[in-house]
């Protein structure tokens, strides 16, 4: 890094994105408008499982302003299939989703037809006139329902089963003093970004080129998939990323509409825009979580954990989409967490139901796994008469034991190890922050009609997925810098963070930097934003490009000033020689093309880690929970912008609390989604969780990348269910209530309390 007065990396600089968002001049998918643009609306299956007998769109086609009704028939004999981007296990291949239903529908919300019209309102009017005859089949909505296979080739509805592990769990359990087994589950919910999905597809029939604007997350991958489906060369498609109203894992995967809208644009040779409405969002975008687990822990009588066994059952919905089995695989992989457990055996069963397909949502599998394990740890500690903090302290992996291999838990992944950290120190910090010792007398106590509980949840969290990211930096003729990167923006402040890295490396003022991201036009190849990788991978690629550009600038300045590189320094976008002569970046760029490409390749994951602690009260009369205090402590290695990292942590905690108490996609036995509106699908509001704190530490940098950064966007959510459910359980322990299942709604808690009372009364 060069000598500027103040380095931006590590400081909470205000974001370069904010002025445009605050003034209403952001540029989102629904803001797109071009000459001749048509609007699409999608007819979605109203029933969960049926054969399609016939589709009659004649009335729709007769309406004024309707340009086309496209069904599977129009797409051709072969309906394109959405590929597996992650975890491409062969078992999943036959369960992948066709881009439109032809003979059969398998979930409420599955696309059957698209209407293209002069306006969105006309397209929606026309949807209502399309007649479809269905031969209904019985809906599968739970595990083990195998009498009606969703897929004709399959004998049952299990897509995949595997066993994995390390050590000898059977022997560990056989020899253990103490064993406990419990069943837990996390309900189906989803990320709910504030902006629904949307895009504008423009086909240039003369050039044979397609431009799709509104893409994000993995644009280069999606372009490849789309090119194959449309029979085009990748070069003939551009996916353009503009502002993105939240991602959280669900947005930007390849969905049916990512084919259907471009297909319609090409077929009609007109620009076609589609904006998802909120109702269809809730039934069309990836759902997530929905994992159950039978978990067993084997311990010595002193509380040392000897072994862990976990059987993970995941409801994948009707198809296996791009994320493959990431959700259950990670739910199994993160069962051991930050603890020294020598013998681990896990199994995964991914089964199909007539519900919306599942994909990743912030902290996929981790949110669930940490909840399962941390709940069982509390139960075990209490059984063994050991303080629940002491139990954890005893079993947390120590710094001396790192790197700590956790190989063999995911069949399609190579070896991996927890990298660096001081798990115990961060744990102690969380105890101190929540006031563990001062408040321990409150556990379960009834004060003013409510019971108090304090809960803990420890986690370790992977980030920085490989294999690679690319960046290209250009010093413009006016001396400003353009940074182009393959990482995608999801609203997280990517522009600012990458600008900070470039600014420091090149000693160029922050306000002279423009960051372009995601679009396939910017670079030959990019890899995108997922698995907390944008800073680790994209940031490191920008650092590499900036370092190379710096060398080029110095070389050019050396020629210009006639002084050797060793006598030059860069200050505020000027190169200054020891003798006082200087030349500005603008002057250097005016005469020469100053551009540098950078790349960063890495297959080693980062492991951030931390502890959450929650203090809640539960009103036993109503089952209502109040979060009095919440603290999340996480070591992220290095925070490029502490304000952004802190904002991510607080936002993630609240999303996690939603997952604990509110968010729930509810299906009935017929496979109907009962709450596809924001009036019925509840998420946290400003008055729900007013007291939350996050402490971001930079104790141990990651050795995997030159920035020392670890993934920082998910640590705020992954242990929320763990800590909060433990707090609720602690509050209700005197009433003999145990917590196994989310969400912790007032009716559920009220019923648990009532049932426990009745048991006690009956026993007496």
């Amino acid at each position: 890094m060069s000598d500027v007065a103040k380095l931006l990396v590590g400081s909470a600089v205000e974001r370069m994105e904010d002025a445009r968002f605050l003034s209403g001049s952001g540029y989102f998918a629904d803001d797109l408008a071009v000459e001749g643009m048509l609007h699409a609306a999608i007819l979605r299956s109203p029933i969960a499982h049926a054969r399609i007998a016939s589709i009659d769109a004649s009335a729709a086609l007769a309406m004024p302003g309707i340009h086309a009704v496209i069904t599977a028939h129009d797409i051709g004999d072969t309906i394109p299939i959405i590929p597996l981007r992650l975890a491409p296990l062969p078992e999943f291949e036959p369960f992948r989703q066709p881009v439109i239903a032809r003979d059969k529908v398998r979930y409420v919300g599955e696309p059957i037809a698209i209407v293209v019209a002069d306006s969105r309102a006309l397209a929606e009017d026309a949807l209502e006139t399309i007649g479809i005859e269905f031969d209904a089949l019985s809906a599968v909505t739970e595990r083990g329902a195998s009498e009606t296979p969703l897929f004709d080739f399959a004998k049952d509805n299990v897509a995949l089963r595997y066993d994995a592990g390390f050590g000898d769990a059977d022997a560990a359990f056989a020899s253990a003093h103490y064993v406990r087994t419990e069943r837990f589950s996390v309900q189906r919910h989803t990320a709910l970004p504030m902006e629904t999905r949307g895009m504008l597809a423009e086909w240039n029939s003369l050039a044979g080129r397609l431009v799709v604007t509104g893409a994000t997350k993995v644009t280069f991958y999606n372009r490849r998939a789309l090119a194959q489906m449309l029979g085009l060369r990748e070069d003939d498609i551009d996916l353009i990323e503009i502002d993105v109203g939240g991602g959280f894992g669900v947005r930007g995967e390849f969905y049916p509409e990512d084919f259907l809208i471009p297909f319609a644009a090409r077929k009609l040779a007109r620009p076609v825009k589609w904006i998802e409405d909120r109702r269809e969002h809730l039934m069309a975008i990836n759902h997530s979580r929905d994992v159950a687990c039978e978990l067993s822990l084997a311990c010595r009588s002193d509380g040392m954990i000897l072994g862990l066994r976990g059987r993970v059952f995941a409801d994948m919905g009707a198809y296996i989409r791009t994320n493959g089995g990431v959700v259950p695989a990670k739910a199994a992989q993160f069962l051991p967490g930050p603890y020294r457990i020598p013998h681990v055996s896990v199994s995964v069963e991914a089964f199909m139901t007539n519900k919306t397909p599942v994909g990743t949502y912030r902290g996929p599998g981790r949110f669930e796994a940490n909840f399962f394990r941390e709940r069982l740890i509390d139960m075990a500690a209490i059984d063994l008469g050991i303080d629940i903090a002491e139990f954890r302290r005893k079993n947390l992996i120590t710094e001396q034991e790192l790197p700590y291999p956790i190989d063999g838990l995911v069949p399609y992944e190579g070896p991996t190890s927890y990298d660096t950290g001081d798990y115990v120190e961060v744990f102690e910090r969380a105890l101190k922050e929540i006031g563990w010792f001062e408040k321990s007398h409150l556990q379960g106590k009834l004060i003013d009609g409510v019971r108090h509980g304090i809960g803990l949840g420890c986690f370790v969290e992977s980030g920085g997925a490989g294999p690679k990211e690319n960046a290209a930096l250009t010093l413009e003729k006016d001396g400003s810098l353009t940074v182009a990167v393959g990482s995608s923006v999801l609203g997280q402040g990517l522009e600012t963070v990458l600008g900070q890295i470039a600014s420091d490396t090149l000693s160029i003022p922050f306000d002279r930097i423009r960051v372009l991201h995601g679009s396939t036009t910017l670079l030959d190849e990019g890899f995108g934003t997922y698995h907390s990788r944008a800073v680790v991978m994209g940031g490191s690629a920008v650092l590499d490009a900036a370092t190379r550009l710096r060398e080029k600038i110095l070389q050019q300045a050396s020629n210009h000033l006639g002084r050797p590189n060793s006598e030059l320094k860069i200050v505020n976008a000027n190169v200054i020689a020891d003798n006082g002569a200087s030349v500005s970046f603008a002057a250097l760029a005016a005469g020469h093309d100053l551009q540098a490409d950078g790349t960063f390749s890495n297959d080693v994951r980062t492991y951030s880690y931390g502890t959450h602690a929650a203090h809640v009260t539960v009103d036993p009369r109503t089952g209502a929970v109040k979060v009095l205090d919440y603290i999340a402590v996480e070591d992220v290695g290095r925070a490029i912008n502490p304000a952004i990292v802190h904002g991510q942590a607080i936002g993630a905690i609240v999303q996690g609390l939603g997952g604990v108490f509110l968010d729930h996609l509810i299906y009935d036995e017929q496979g109907q989604l009962l709450n596809a509106s924001l009036a019925d699908y509840l998420v946290p509001t400003a008055s729900d969780f007013p007291v939350l704190r996050a402490v971001t530490l930079e104790l141990r940098p990651s050795p995997s990348n030159p920035l020392g950064a670890k993934g920082a966007g998910e640590g705020g959510i992954v242990a929320v269910a763990a800590a909060t459910a433990n707090a609720v359980a602690a509050a209700l322990a005197p009433l003999n209530v145990e917590i196994h299942h989310l969400p912790l709604t007032p009716p559920r808690l009220w019923r648990l309390i009532k049932n426990a009372r009745e048991r006690t009364t009956n026993a007496a």
């Binding site: 909470a12 205000e14 974001r15 994105e17 904010d18 002025a19 445009r20 968002f21 605050l22 003034s23 209403g24 001049s25 952001g26 540029y27 989102f28 629904d30 803001d31 408008a33 004024p64 302003g65 309102a121 006309l122 990320a191 709910l192 970004p193 504030m194 902006e195 629904t196 502002d243 993105v244 109203g245 939240g246 959280f248 409405d277 909120r278 999801l490 609203g491 997280q492 402040g493 952004i644 802190h646 904002g647 991510q648 607080i650 936002g651 993630a652 905690i653 609240v654 999303q655 509106s677 924001l678 009036a679 998420v683 509001t685 400003a686 008055s687 729900d688 969780f689 007013p690 939350l692």
Partner: protein, 165 residues
């Protein structure tokens, strides 16, 4: 389809005419006819608050109000609060407190807060939370939003003092 008719309304201080079908919502008229795309649609059923605009001083859901209902009235959108070059005190407080991430819900929260503080420049934290609980944000967890609005109150009390003098 019923034919479009012209409506006169004042938007961000400027008298304007939009020609829309009777079923057109105010939010759609602002976005599609006047190209004021700072007002965002997050749910189109009145829950999320992203489309909130100020009509004759009151915060209203742009998706639940027909454009025709705004005829002859004064509408303020996020674009009327301040420009990127000249952000208002409220907008600056949002930037300072990192009270936005993806920026999609931001316009509706700014208009809601502006309407609140214009009426109640001394609103307490609980009151601010209560009012902002009608707007959904999925990124920030709301804490920095509340902090920003609390800080911006001073600018609104100043306005009231000036008006009183």
């Amino acid at each position: 389809m019923i034919s479009a008719r012209a409506l006169r309304l004042t938007v961000n201080g400027t008298q304007t005419t939009v020609t829309v079908e009777p079923r057109t919502t105010l939010a759609d008229a602002l976005r599609n006819e006047l190209r004021l795309t700072g007002t965002h649609l997050g749910c189109e059923h009145g829950v999320c608050g992203a489309c909130t605009v100020i009509v004759d001083g009151a915060a209203m859901r742009g998706c639940l109000m027909l454009a025709a209902q705004a005829e002859g009235r004064e509408v303020t959108t996020v674009e009327g609060l301040g420009s990127a070059a000249h952000l208002s005190a409220l907008q600056l407080a949002f930037r300072k407190h990192h009270a936005l991430q993806c920026g999609f819900c931001t316009a509706g929260i700014l208009t809601t807060a502006h309407a609140l503080l214009t009426d109640e420049p001394h609103a307490g934290e609980d009151r601010i939370r209560e009012v902002i609980s009608g707007n959904l944000c999925r990124c920030t967890g709301y804490l920095p939003i509340i902090a920003a609005i609390m800080e911006a109150r001073i600018a609104y009390s100043d306005v009231q003092c000036e008006a009183a003098q």
